[in-house]
């Protein structure tokens, strides 16, 4: 049914429709309304689930690690500093190959203290071994949340659903909410193959010495690389049921013969999509909406950039002392192409700075200028800094 819903509320309902058996979360800042709404559904008897309010994000992640290992469908949500406090456990969840689903309401990381949106938090745990999927709007956040359980349980890998904090979580918009029956049809009950069960004992997370650790890492990497098939299948099956696809690993919009491409993750896709029609630029450009950051779809990015002279990467997080993060991975993906495009990395919207429509023509102007550095922060206002720090 089509409804006008706040992103957090819609995601909470979508998660509830997946019938999680355990939800654990730290309920205070930097939490979103997602778990607040889940706790309401539990209190109202609309969701039968063990809801554990814990004293820190470290514990939230630890609880879902344990419950998932015991075979229960498990969910948590956090953002920013909360994700960082979970970090050690996030690596453990992934290393133990547990099918946990986590919503990361993407926000900046302190200091200075900032509660607003960018992608620094999920980027900080990029290497934890989770599948990371970005959503461009709240419809995708709802649909991806449901797909995430299916992907996690089929691949036995944890899935982080990344949705822009505030820009999506706190925005009310028109969302098609799926029917419970349809979700039940799409997502069968979890039957975890390696669950801890006293009737069939096994050990989990034991010490692994140098003679096997490398193989464990290889296996984890291989599982991530192979998970693309399930990510695509989960989206295709969802599309067959609902008519809505979230775009698999990535989607390309705009003229095929464009010589310029822009790669974006998250809700900025929507603003730039409109800006591209409001500000038609001299050069034809296509929009590459990157949905899956882990596993990183290098071959698909290469194919999407075929024939391009310039590839602009919109960075929503930075690696101080190096530059962009997504851009580096895009460059690596494009290495060795016959006619290798020039990659321009521009960070925008750090810590919630507004990303207006005019960002698009500004980006195109910057690309056209000669001698620009390959990485810069497009919307930095240098006059706010002392001269020696510019």
């Amino acid at each position: 049914m089509l409804e006008a819903l706040e992103g957090s509320q819609a995601v909470a309902r979508a998660v509830a429709m997946c019938r999680p058996e355990v939800v654990a979360a730290y309920p205070i800042t930097p939490q979103t309304h997602i778990v607040e709404n889940i706790s309401k559904l539990v209190a109202d008897g609309k969701l039968i689930c063990e809801l554990v309010s814990v004293e820190s994000e470290f514990s939230a992640a630890s609880v879902v690690l344990g419950s998932s290992a015991a075979g229960a469908r498990s969910y948590t949500a956090s953002s920013s500093q909360g994700i960082l406090l979970m970090t050690e456990v996030l690596f453990n969840i992934a290393g133990l190959r547990l099918p946990v689903v986590l919503t990361c309401a993407n926000r900046a990381v302190s200091a200075p203290i900032n509660i607003w949106n960018d992608h620094q938090d999920s980027m900080a745990v990029r290497d934890a071994g989770w599948i990371q999927i970005h959503c461009v709007d709240n419809q995708e956040a709802v649909d991806t949340s449901i797909q995430a359980f299916r992907i996690a349980e089929a691949t036995e890998l944890p899935v982080m659903v990344c949705m822009d904090g505030f820009v999506l979580t706190h925005t009310l918009e028109t969302i098609e909410m799926p029917d419970q029956k349809l979700v039940d049809k799409y997502l069968p009950p979890l039957n975890f193959s390696r669950k801890l069960d006293p009737r069939a004992p096994l050990s989990l997370g034991t010490l692994v010495g140098p003679e096997h650790f490398t193989e464990a890492r290889h296996s984890h990497h291989a599982a991530l690389m192979k998970s693309t098939a399930e990510i695509l299948a989960a989206d295709a099956d969802w599309a067959a049921l609902t008519g809505r696809s979230c775009g698999g690993l990535l989607t390309v919009e705009g003229p095929e013969d464009a010589r310029t491409a822009i790669i974006i993750m998250g809700s900025t896709v929507c603003t730039i999509r409109e800006a591209m029609s409001v500000y038609p630029t001299k050069r034809k450009a296509k929009l590459i909406k990157l949905r899956t950051f882990r596993p990183f779809p290098a071959a698909e990015i290469r194919a999407a950039c075929e024939g391009c002279k310039d590839v602009v990467v919109l960075e929503r997080a930075i690696s101080p002392g190096a530059g962009g993060i997504l851009g580096v991975e895009v460059k690596a993906a494009l290495m060795g192409m016959k006619r290798q495009p020039v990659v321009h990395e521009f960070a925008v919207g750090l810590g919630g700075r507004d990303i207006p429509l005019e960002t698009w023509p500004r980006l195109m102007d910057a690309v056209a200028r000669d001698g620009e550095p390959s990485f810069s922060i497009l919307d930095v206002e240098l006059e706010k800094l002392p001269v020696e720090e510019r």
């Binding site: 925005t171 918009e173 900025t268 929507c270």
Partner: protein, 188 residues
């Protein structure tokens, strides 16, 4: 597309106002988007919220810098720099104030309607929450969607006596403003 910016103080229900206006538009089959300006809200601090209404799905997610209309929940904010900034030519300002509209218009320099929204709410709801009265007036003046849609939107949040009182408040506020005065600006 119609873009509205709501200015108020923390505790006046600014975000709820934005959500209600968007939901009212949704009830009439329009696409909508509403979001706060994401401050670390505190009671009394200036808060901004944004609403977009369109016949087509809304893509842009940036803040509203050039609103078609402004809704000001606390008239004291008219003296805060930037509050009326960016208002489109022909756009109107709806202000919560017991003063005459002409008086307030002289200060804003823009088409302005004043409504004693806090007083109306205090009388009818028993709480001086200006948001619902202002939204009822806003829909009446602009005709963006029928004012009944606001009642429907409130029906998702309230029931019983509270909903009844809010419906009375909607009628009272709508009766105090010139219906359709800004219709042209809203349909331009």
């Amino acid at each position: 597309m119609i873009e509205v910016r709501i200015h108020g103080r923390g505790g006046q229900g600014n975000v709820v106002a934005a959500y209600l206006l968007a939901t009212a538009a949704f009830e009439e089959g329009r696409h909508c988007q509403a979001f706060p300006s994401f401050g670390a809200e505190r009671r009394g601090a200036p808060v901004t919220a944004f609403v977009r209404i369109d016949d087509n799905p809304i893509q842009r997610r940036c803040q509203v810098r050039a609103p078609d209309f402004l809704i000001i929940q606390d008239s004291g904010l008219l003296h805060v720099a930037g509050v009326t900034e960016g208002l489109k030519p022909g756009g109107g300002v709806l202000v919560n104030s017991p003063r005459a509209s002409d008086d307030v218009a002289a200060e804003t320099g823009r088409p302005t309607i004043a409504l004693p929204a806090s007083q109306l709410a205090a009388d009818i709801l028993g709480r001086p929450m200006p948001n619902v009265a202002l939204l009822a007036a806003f829909l009446t003046i602009t005709g963006i969607v029928p004012v009944d849609a606001l009642g429907k939107a409130l029906g998702h949040r309230f029931k019983g006596d509270v909903l009844e009182r809010n419906r009375k408040l909607i009628d009272a506020a709508a009766a105090l403003v010139p219906a359709g005065l800004w219709r042209e600006a809203a349909h331009a």
